[in-house]
Symmetry: C2
Subunit: 624 residues, 2 copies
């Protein structure tokens, strides 16, 4: 061993001991005839003192940043103690040293606030990983991994490895494929998830399975997507939805405790998918703050259980609202004093192509201090639609949005899907602006009762347009009362415009997502375990019998030999770590990530391969 101690462990009670340390030179500070060096390793930083004699040696062979150094010396009490670091009470009076390796001048500083740009740091990721900020992320990732494993082990789960070279069954996302040299013309696929394998394990009787496992999806990379990513993948047999929710909120709470020392003792909130869409405009709401949506107008077939309150806006001859399918509002706290410039900026923001609104209506709920008299509400309203709506009407709208004095009501109008998404985006935008989304506040939520199907009006993945697609995946079970609906109805949709009126549109899935701070961190479902229902499901998705057997014959076969009821969940491990680490970028929590073109710029991969490799694989390029 090149060291007797690490650079993070010496304290004043070790003063007088002779120790050997090894690590990297963080800084060199020369004061006259002595030199101080901060020596860094994974565990911390220790100050070294080179006295006059050794200083002469250093003069001839200067130490540079990131040199690898081994020193032996005596632990000594510091005169100038540094309370900022754990070893700040001591220093090492160096007796002898050995440069184990030199270093060129690093292309950026190895510090929390580095001067290196993103591309440079990715190219030299091995240096970026030395930075304390990155190291903390990697350590947090390991702590989450360890906490999850310990919890699952304690609850009788077994880590069982599933294969990586499997069969290509393109459903939804694209597979990465691997040509087989031994079976020319044939290809393996890399798993998008171990879904069917974990279900087979349930059929095999391994009733509690888990894996922390790499998965692969060949998607066009949006920001913060990686072609390879990690899941905490779990499955249980002989369970109902309630069992899974309890087990896995237990896991997340255990991770909170182990990793962040947070006692998350409160019950995890639950919300139906419909309620999430109604109140927050999306299926993974951040519920750390309010600003719930006020639905002034909405399509009745989308929310059949809700009562219209469009009387609040009707009859004012305001065409924008009258002609819109959906009119939704949020009351933003404390922004009633926004200037014209500020409201204009918000209007510009919602008009950006990514949001896609044509405009925005606002109502300022001004605290009417000056004019406040007995019997007055204490608010005066000022809006961008004053000429259409009387003060009384504005007041009624404000009451519907639960606005208080000082709030700014923002209203969007347009087609349902786009408008709802826009108000949801606007809500998050305002929350960020008002610092309502604090990285160290954590709030969990279960979203339940998702629709089983979505209707693809346009072709999504080559399966054709005008058909049902699985919202979660084709193995998700319908809610028990909806199984009949599924079995007794043909999936055929005659009038594409009225797909929402088809019985399948109302079928709810036995599926659940876990949401943390507005991010989906996990999702799962109770699975189909009967061959007939699974066949019906495949058929509903447009797969004929031959295709079903070709792609999933092994699973249908397995269901004939005593498949138990089962269900599971998969957590996005990278995302979970990022949120726990107070970041929304998963890349920061992956040791060797790829960029947005799927490239590893450090390795320079992917890259060309040899002619010999093409020959052996019996494939060739067919570049367009």
């Amino acid at each position: 061993m090149y060291r007797s101690h690490t650079c993070g462990e010496l304290r004043s009670n070790q003063v007088g001991q002779t120790v050997t340390l090894a690590g990297w030179v963080q800084t060199v500070r020369k004061f006259g005839s002595i030199t101080f060096v901060d020596l860094r390793d994974r565990y911390g930083i220790t100050q070294l003192l080179f006295g006059e004699e050794l200083n002469k040696v250093l003069d001839e062979n200067p130490l540079g940043r990131e040199f690898v150094l081994q020193v032996t010396g005596a632990v000594s009490e510091r005169s100038n103690k540094n309370a900022n670091i754990a070893t700040g009470d001591i220093e090492i009076i160096v007796q002898s040293f050995n440069v184990l390796n030199k270093s060129a001048v690093p292309p950026f500083t190895i510090q929390d606030d580095t001067d290196g740009g993103d591309d440079l740091r990715m190219k030299y990721r091995f240096l970026d990983l030395r930075r304390n900020a990155v190291k903390r992320n990697i350590e947090l990732r390991y702590a989450v991994n360890r906490a999850a494993r310990n919890y699952l082990h304690g609850n009788g789960f077994m880590d069982i490895e599933t294969p990586f070279l499997i069969k290509s069954t393109p459903e939804g996302a694209r597979d990465f494929v691997v040509p087989s040299r031994m079976n020319p013309g044939q290809f393996y696929a890399l798993p998008q998830s171990p879904q069917t394998f974990k279900q087979l394990l349930m059929v095999s009787g391994y009733d509690r399975y888990y894996q922390v496992v790499k998965c692969f999806r060949d998607e066009d990379l949006r920001a913060d997507r990686q072609p390879e990513f990690t899941q905490i993948d779990c499955e249980m047999a002989f369970v109902e939805q309630e069992d899974i929710l309890n087990m896995f909120e237990g896991m997340i709470k255990s991770i909170f405790k182990e990793v962040k020392n947070i006692d998350y003792t409160e019950a995890v909130e639950r919300m139906t998918w419909e309620e999430a869409m109604w109140q927050y405009g999306n299926d993974k709401p951040d519920i750390r703050f309010e600003m719930k949506i006020c639905n002034l107008k909405f399509p009745a077939h989308t929310f059949p259980a809700k009562q219209s309150q469009s009387v609040l806006i009707d009859g004012a001859d305001f065409k924008v609202f009258d002609e819109a399918e959906t009119v939704v509002a949020i009351a933003v706290p404390g922004c009633s004093e926004y200037t014209r410039k500020q409201t204009d900026e918000l209007t510009e923001w919602v008009k950006r192509p990514q949001v896609g609104m044509k405009g925005m209506v606002f109502i300022k709920c001004l605290p009417a201090e000056a004019s406040a008299q007995e019997g007055n509400t204490g608010i005066t309203f000022k809006s961008s639609v004053d000429k259409f709506y009387s003060e009384e009407k504005l007041k009624a709208i404000a009451e519907a949005t639960n606005a208080k004095a000082g709030d700014l009501i923002l209203i969007l109008a347009g087609a349902e899907e786009r408008t709802r998404k826009a108000i949801s985006d606007l809500r998050m935008y305002m929350a960020d602006k008002l610092s309502l989304r604090k990285a160290e506040d954590f709030k969990l939520l279960w979203v339940l009762d998702f629709p089983l199907f979505e209707f693809a009006l346009e072709d999504q993945d080559g399966g054709g347009a005008g058909r049902w697609v699985a919202r979660h995946h084709p193995f998700t079970s319908p809610k028990p009362p909806h199984i009949e609906t599924m079995i007794n109805n043909s999936p055929k949709v005659d009038d594409l415009d009225k797909y929402l009126e088809h019985p399948y549109a109302g079928i709810k899935a036995n599926a659940y997502d876990m949401v943390l701070n507005g991010n989906e961190i996990g999702g799962g479902s109770i699975r189909i375990y009967q061959r007939e229902l699974q066949e019906k499901m495949f058929a509903a998705l447009g797969m004929n019998a031959e295709e079903q057997l070709h792609k999933f014959g092994f699973l249908l076969g397995a269901f004939e030999y005593g498949a138990p009821p089962h269900g599971g969940i998969a957590f996005g491990f990278d995302r979970l770590c990022a949120i726990l680490g107070g970041s929304e970028s998963i890349r920061d929590f992956i040791a060797f990530p790829k960029n947005n073109s799927g490239r590893d710029v450090m390795l320079d991969a992917p890259s060309a391969i040899d002619t010999k490799q093409f020959d052996e694989l019996q494939i060739k390029l067919n570049l367009k």
Copy 2:
């Protein structure tokens, strides 16, 4: 939850409780008007008793093997206790039951001694996995995984995930490659091991790394090889060989304790590679038994430190020995009474093409009981070469082999490499025959000081013939005293026949293998960490500067920025599990293995892919 208890947990102190169980029907036994059912799950088997009333229901809807059943009933003391199973004191008097799923008649019996052939069990692997014998293996695998992780965690190692989509750098084995859709014409490779990444992590300062990780090699599959396999992969910085040996024999001992409850307290034996070849004829000797090789004749340049004792066989005019490069013998205990038929069989065995000997000489060391007199050795010798060697000569040979009365000495002669391998094979064959290789005896061994290079007289992997190849891998450091030899000599070999006289042939590596019961379970090395030496190494292997930069530029670059001394090891996880489980077949310890053609017969993978996939990847087939 479909159950209140598992099928393995009820005991007589729970008699009287009402419980709900769920599991699979193992057996149905009808006795008049009552029926006994053995219900099985992952945890055990519980006997169910269906009384007269329910029996009538069963008559109409009979239960079959592997039906999935949920029952509620009272725990009752059994009159006929079964001491063979943990729940044998009780049974459940069924009050109500629910068939959760039916099962077709399984294609083979779900029992330890199944009637299913290998192919059938692989096709229905999800049923095979239900068998207790297989389940025990999968459980053992998880226990080993868990024990290794706990040990490593306890010693400050961090699990850090390395990427699966990397750069193809064919060295030795073939890479599996993955076409990149987003980078047309370019390919990722799947890692043969995370070697370079774990070294980069050391450069990054994460001084103790581990991973239980899938690796991929596109090799022609020999028996018991898998294209994807799992390693326990580890690396440490600031260590020397001795530190690694201590750390990882600690890990294996800890696994022995946790998994098998074996206190492996003795020191792990160590042996140089040369000594292993000398005494056992191979580099992974099974040292649970003796039968060491007696080297009657050997090439001096192969074992320069050893003294010749060919005087024992010289001068007898026995051409087979006189003309052979190598003559080696083993003394097989207790086989002196072998019949002519038995020795003939052994001769046939060594003449098989896989062994490749031309013949075999034997000497029987017969206990001379009848003729035993004072002063006599008590042994008479009878050999297949009596006409060449006198009794005295035979006695001298026998003494050299350490043969005792009752032993059978077997002698092989021929070219060095083949003969040494043959005697090693024969030694193992005889040990199996004599039951000296007991699955529950475990003996560890470190083999050290491997040669750094091998000389490829013939082309192995397209790199050309007549060149040095890395015995371990190109990142292995030479022993410190041999670094000079490497730097100061050109790798060029002028006379291929005399490659053993080239200075490179004598360079030893800082490498080590861990051997368990004659199987290599782990191997590793202290790594090169200086750019210059790494370049010299690449050059010695025939890689020019351009190639070096193209393939390993990132690593050479990393070595410029303060790479610490480091080393590591990787354990073959599948193999380790198999040996601990008393088997030599790794396939039995993998949940979903592939067959010898690299096929998953359950999935039917690999398989053809869609035209659309070819189009998107911009590749096409080029079948010969």
